[in-house]
Symmetry: C2
Subunit: 443 residues, 2 copies
């Protein structure tokens, strides 16, 4: 076949996995002892631990602690092959995926491309806001925050200064809550020491939530506690509010209220990140592939989807499982077993989601956690929840070195009450004169 | 005065320091208890520990371990002010510096802008090679190396593959020797595990040195040992050789020999990085300001220069001091004392360089070190030298957290014989099809 990229032919069935997030990576590992060739394709050469990206963005962790290069994690797995490439399409008839490095043949194709921000059709929002789905996003946000403060020092006009000091976070789920909490901590403990010339009492943190509660998927206890804590930490929480528009300077809410900020963080929704080439009918609203209980994309027998990109509908989950880590990990693991079963001529096992609960931090040593154990549900808050959250996240990191590094960094931050990683490295804006700032404000 | 940027007027003499490298930072700290206002201006918001940049470039350390944000290091020093800006010129008559954020008034101006790569007028080399003077350089080199390997997987033509696997390092001083050593270590221990499909016996590392010995400034013992060790580690060392041209693919030496590589690392020379506005006559060849024994720029009484940018000529050092860390640190420290003396109406003290020696690593646990202690000179090599090198570098890092972090990372790397930081984060090239690679080779 023309244009095939070079990959050893092992004479075994080849499982091509597109995307090395929680689902894809777990599947790759689960196939270690299965008589297949595993080919993982990803646009990055590393796995990023998404739950901790907000900490990179708020200078609490360095980027290297939350990423793991695929080749390193799996260099002991002899049936594992990796290709750094962008997958551009699927030719299901010929059983190849089209990629930036050529065509890759498959016997089984597993789509694990995850999710991307959902701006609900608002192109202006997509352009002007910052999301937190990748390491580069996190680094860009960190750089932006620090550069904004440096710029604010040059200004005399209060509205201009506030546009650089204030933050608007859209989305009251775990991501939004965690960022709001982290920023309030920095405002209180860290920024005033670094920027003695700025008045951080002027720094406003707004959290905009479209529904009536924060942390919609968690218990009422957790939602209420998060709301009270954030307000106590000085975050202005707007419930039943939506952003109508944002031009890079002015945020207009559906209530008519206007807020001024140059930093709007979008945490209000994600949708699947599909690849072209399959029938449009297999995509559900939210851009997720419709899959059966064995993760097969409906209508195909060699194409699977797992993780955020897959919507496995059931009575308990009519829109598919929540787009979080646990379903992705569990689906990846089961599909590994099921591929082995298929090769053995056995029927695959259907997936049942073991919901272990959810957690979110709200600041330095404060969290909410709904934990499901032994058939019971525990609602933890405060320091105990934070300990549980820290423990779970450290052991879930990929790679022992990362676990030690994060444990060490958190310990250090806790003891010193500081977050040391306040560098602007990479994409950033050099501060300019006041007149130039005013000119740029007219968008 | 028009266009002055906003900085508090403390009613004290203001010392403006341009550049927060070894010299500028040391001076800022030395002025902590002197009745002045210290204003440090730098294009980055952090100090980068340059001796360890090559380790970031070869994935042995993360970038965050070798940088320290100015605001954090000096947030306890009440007379310290920082501005993130680009300094564009000096108006010595009005006693202001022109910057991207406006004009900054000074009573004393200290230029500590350091050095930049010296391409000896070869603009093509400047464009096609990678130097290692900044964190972004180091990250870009790391990304380039890893991306090149990913690209090599797509190719069948041996010359093309080698162009991506091979390295040419120009410059046989400590930087060139250290990079060559680090790469040889990766070639032996790390890359073959990560990239099982590539044959790293094909990876060539060339080190090009214009003179007859490596590490020209060190003892003959050190030079000879470095040469033997690098050759033993498989580095091809070319002495008495110069690069005539490099077009991004073919390196042509003065001997007529040609080498093929897409990765040429320029470590062959640095020159000062001056700012416009002073008389051209105060710049010596190599673009360093000519200063007297008290670091005053010749012909000015309120303008000083320290570190790499300053050439303090003396019989022992007719071209000024070597452009390394020790003179910079010592000059910064002394100038702090001298400014205090000047304010007290005392004469400043002349500078004498206390040459403590030099060191360079040559691989995982191998170094050469000339140490001057108690009037004696010790020539250490091998593991002992490496221990000394490691110790000196760890304690010299700015910030206790960085010291712990680097100590931990080195310990980990040593025990695991691995360097875990093989991520491509930031600027990089997505691999492409083989035909596209061949097209791009025609520069």
């Amino acid at each position: 076949m023309e244009g095939l990229t070079k990959i050893d032919d092992l004479g075994k069935p080849r499982v091509v996995i597109v995307g090395g997030g929680f689902a894809g990576l777990e599947l790759a590992k689960a196939l270690a002892d299965v008589p297949v060739q595993v080919v993982l394709i990803d646009r990055q050469n590393y796995h990023a631990f998404q739950p901790l990206l907000y900490q990179v963005a708020t200078a609490g962790l360095d980027a290297d602690s939350v990423v793991s290069p695929f080749r390193k994690i799996l260099n002991g797995q002899t049936n594992f092959y990796f290709r750094l490439a962008e997958v551009q399409g699927i030719d299901e008839v010929s059983r190849v995926v089209e990629t930036s490095i050529g065509r890759v043949r498959y016997d089984y194709l597993v789509l694990a491309t995850g999710a991307e921000p959902n701006y609900f059709g608002d192109a202006q929002m997509a352009k002007n806001s910052i999301a937190l789905k990748s390491v580069e996003d996190a680094i860009e946000l960190r750089n932006t925050v620090l550069s904004n403060f440096e710029q604010a020092l040059q200004l005399g006009d209060m509205e201009q200064i506030n546009s650089l000091l204030d933050f608007v976070i859209v989305g009251g789920g775990p991501t939004g809550v965690e960022i709001a909490g982290a920023l309030s901590e920095l405002r209180k403990h860290v920024f005033p020491k670094d920027y003695r010339e700025l008045n951080f009492k002027e720094m406003d943190i707004h959290l905009i939530q479209s529904g009536p509660v924060l942390l919609k998927g968690m218990s009422a206890h957790a939602s209420q506690h998060a709301l009270e804590s954030l307000r106590k930490f000085g975050v202005q929480v707007w419930l039943e509010a939506r952003v109508k528009s944002y031009d890079g300077y002015t945020v207009t809410l559906n209530t008519g209220q206007k807020l001024i900020t140059r930093t709007l963080i979008w945490a209000a929704g994600v949708e699947g990140a599909p690849i072209g080439g399959l029938r449009p009918t297999c995509l559900l609203p939210g851009n997720r592939y419709c899959v059966d209980a064995c993760s097969r994309v409906v209508g195909y027998d060699r194409v699977f989807a797992i993780g955020d990109i897959a919507a496995m509908q059931s009575p308990a989950y009519p829109d598919g499982h929540p787009m979080v880590a646990q379903p992705a990990l569990q689906q990846g693991r089961l599909l590994g077993q099921n591929i082995a079963r298929l090769l053995n001529g056995q029927d695959p096992l259907p997936f049942t989601y073991d919901d272990k609960g959810a957690m979110a931090t709200i600041g330095r040593n404060h969290a909410v956690a709904d934990v499901k154990l032994f058939g019971q549900e525990f609602h933890l808050t405060g320091f105990l929840a934070w300990l549980a959250w820290s423990f779970i996240h450290v052991i879930s990191l990929v790679g022992f070195r990362n676990r030690l590094s994060v444990f060490f960094t958190w310990g250090w931050n806790y003891v010193t009450q500081d977050k040391g990683l306040r560098y602007i490295i990479g994409k950033s804006k050099t501060p300019v004169r006041e007149q130039e700032v005013a000119e740029k404000a007219v968008v």
